[in-house]
Assembly symmetry: C2
Homo-oligomer: 418 residues x 2
């Protein structure tokens, strides 16, 4: 297979995926290899000793939240001793938002690509508070909010999802793109469409759980980013489905840890290619600036790898209010992404571009050739924890150069006519 | 008061209105002057003998639907004799979509501008069928659908609305503008936001009316235009609130009948100024063309008079799929409307324009001066009844010239510094 053929195969997997929300369960019940003493976090696999700052705080917070330790000191000691283990989300088919902390009792969305039976998992958006465990913040309030999600919100939604027999997500994503979302930093329409889709089932659930249903509706009403975790699980399942195609130079994973940025490539196995943290143009909440940004992880930019987020920025002009920029810049950003991708998505379409399909299938060879790096719509974490703004991130060229170099070492039969 | 001052006063009324959905009731209970033997229709007041074509068919269909006659011939005879009366929607604070047929038993939304206590009424969207009474079509199916709306859908929504104690519509409209709606020909987001807003109350209603609630949810799910009737009632209440300001040259009503197009102006009393039917650029359903268009009424373009519809076209690029055109043309159309309006809406904002307020307060003097006529996003009715497409309509300059001429005859104290 030539590189072009391999990339076409990866493109097909990326665009033909049929993500379906099949259930919501505690991570321990469904995430492969999950244990009661494990915390999952964003980024490529690393040793516990390599984590620092907000991401390390997030891991410690996860251990405390799960009751694996009674104090911060005890948690650190148990992590040092390996009694509490830290793994990457990626190794367990999970996808992390910012620090991406998963523990055993946390409910996860289970999304399956019906084309390939690939499954991926994502935990819940914590709500509109600036202080959230996935932004490295931990307190009694964070803990209680996570318990509320696990004990009240997720059981109601799980009951409703089971009554649907599986909820197809692609139609909701397609529609949300026509309603001002790009499904990474803006999920307003997706959230409302998801709620509406479940509503007849929620009415049924309300017959025996009225108070919990009211709490759930109140929670989702305040959470315009609720659907993000579903687009993330969709992105992870879809990207995983496109991984492992011999000779392909298409990106099937992008991740951030406290240390760096890394990508993996469909035809280049399990290796992660590293680069420095992204540069960014941000819009900051009152009182914060670029100097307050702290990198503490993130994998939600898998959405960009499947043709959403910054790759559909021109579908979401409302994002200006959240992450700054102008409509003109958003159009230019979005158009640039067509130059580094394999093709146009047959189903994810951008109204402003006359319903042109979004650019999809990031080709590391095209990134290196053009010098245009993938753009990412992202939330920004601050020193000491919490969200402090949002912005457009530029992925580092270094990891694409490293991946392209590795790709060049593949045999000539796999690189001809690339 | 100078014209400029009068127009500023009209602008304030148009932009500061606080439309609230206060109830849903049968027209006979709440529409001022409504009787059991009355049919209301779109357009300026006319005699029964002046109606023809689809609009006349719609009036006859309304009489049959209401049980005022058993056959078409009987209905015509009773209309000829005045036993069944025909009035304009406008005379009863109602607003007609296309032919705009209202009869006594039809449920209407009651929208009140909390700033001025002005009330307006709009009946229900009939659902996605191409054949609807308001498009001049009448059959057993149309009849049964209207009964279903009156007996099942509207009581559920009325119960839910009453439980809210009054549902403010402005926040929903503001938000829908950021989600791809312009609230005339695209109401997808408005409909979903409205439904979500009512969810917690619908859950309560479901405890004693589960089947009806499920039917209601199914109906709204298929009706992306459901919210149109709420934006129309909002537009009518808002435009009425801005009517009657001495010296103002701002348009407070635009209407179409089978005969012509007409406007009224805030400072020019009850007079309607007439012109020919609009010219249009349409997109037609399969098998239809411009030659099949029949004018059978319409008043939904009151939405344009309050800064929505074509005056917010650049908020709704998805409209291309419905009414044709290109994103570029939509931007140009929308920008042109700033040249004929008093100001920019402080609350209705267009993301693509960097959240610039939509143009609002159509000034007949500016229309005549620039030669730029108001554009209208509208559905298109076909000969023989039913919807056959949608498009952008250009209002006729003649009615604006006539209104400007009438305005010029006002005393000098009211026209200075216009």
């Amino acid at each position: 297979m030539t590189t072009a053929q391999a990339n076409q195969a990866a493109f097909e997997r990326l665009t033909k995926a049929e993500p379906v929300l099949v259930d919501i369960r505690p991570a321990i019940e469904v995430v492969p290899g999950m244990t009661r003493h494990m915390v999952l976090t964003s980024g490529p696999p690393m040793r516990w000793s390599e984590y620092f700052g907000g991401q390390r705080d997030g891991i410690i917070g996860g251990a405390l939240h799960e009751g694996l330790a009674g104090t911060r000191e005890e948690a650190i000691a148990k992590l040092d001793e390996g009694e509490i283990t830290v793994n990457s989300c990626h190794e367990h088919d999970c996808i992390g938002s910012v620090a991406g902390i998963y523990t055993a009792s946390m409910p996860v969305f289970i999304v399956e690509d019906r084309q390939t039976s690939t499954r991926a998992f994502c935990n819940f958006y914590e709500g509109p508070s600036r202080y959230r465990l996935n932004y490295g913040a931990y307190s009694q309030e964070v803990h209680e909010n996570l318990r509320h999600i696990a004990e009240v919100i997720s059981p109601v939604l799980a009951d409703a999802v089971r009554l649907t027999g599986g909820l197809p997500l692609k139609p909701l994503i397609q529609r949300a793109l026509h309603m001002g979302d790009e499904l990474h930093s803006r999920n307003t329409a997706g959230t409302i469409l998801f709620t509406r889709e479940l509503f007849p089932k929620i009415v049924e659930v309300a017959r025996h759980k009225l108070d919990d249903v009211n709490a759930t509706l109140a929670f989702i009403r305040e959470s315009d980013y609720f659907f993000l975790r579903l687009s993330m699980a969709t992105a992870k399942a879809t990207a995983n489905a496109a991984h492992g195609i011999a000779g392909s130079s298409v990106v099937t994973g992008m991740t951030i840890s406290c240390r760096d940025f890394a990508i993996r490539v469909s035809g280049l196995g399990d290796k992660w290619f590293h680069g420095p943290h992204p540069t960014l143009q941000g819009r900051f909440f009152e009182g914060f600036s670029e100097h307050d940004v702290e990198w503490m992880g993130g994998e939600s930019h898998h959405t960009e790898a499947i043709g959403l987020g910054a790759f559909a920025q021109a579908a979401a002009f409302g994002l200006q209010a959240y992450q700054g920029g102008s409509a003109e810049a958003m159009v230019a950003n979005n158009l640039a992404m067509y130059r580094i991708t394999v093709g146009e998505h047959p189903d994810f379409r951008i109204p402003y571009f006359g319903f042109r399909g979004s650019p999809v299938g990031i080709d590391v060879l095209k990134v290196v050739e053009t010098g245009i790096v993938p753009l990412i719509d992202g939330g920004l974490a601050g020193k000491g924890g919490g969200q402090i703004g949002a912005g457009v991130l530029m992925a580092p060229i270094e990891c694409f150069k490293a991946a392209a170099a590795a790709h060049a070492t593949l045999g000539p039969t796999t690189t001809a006519a690339s």
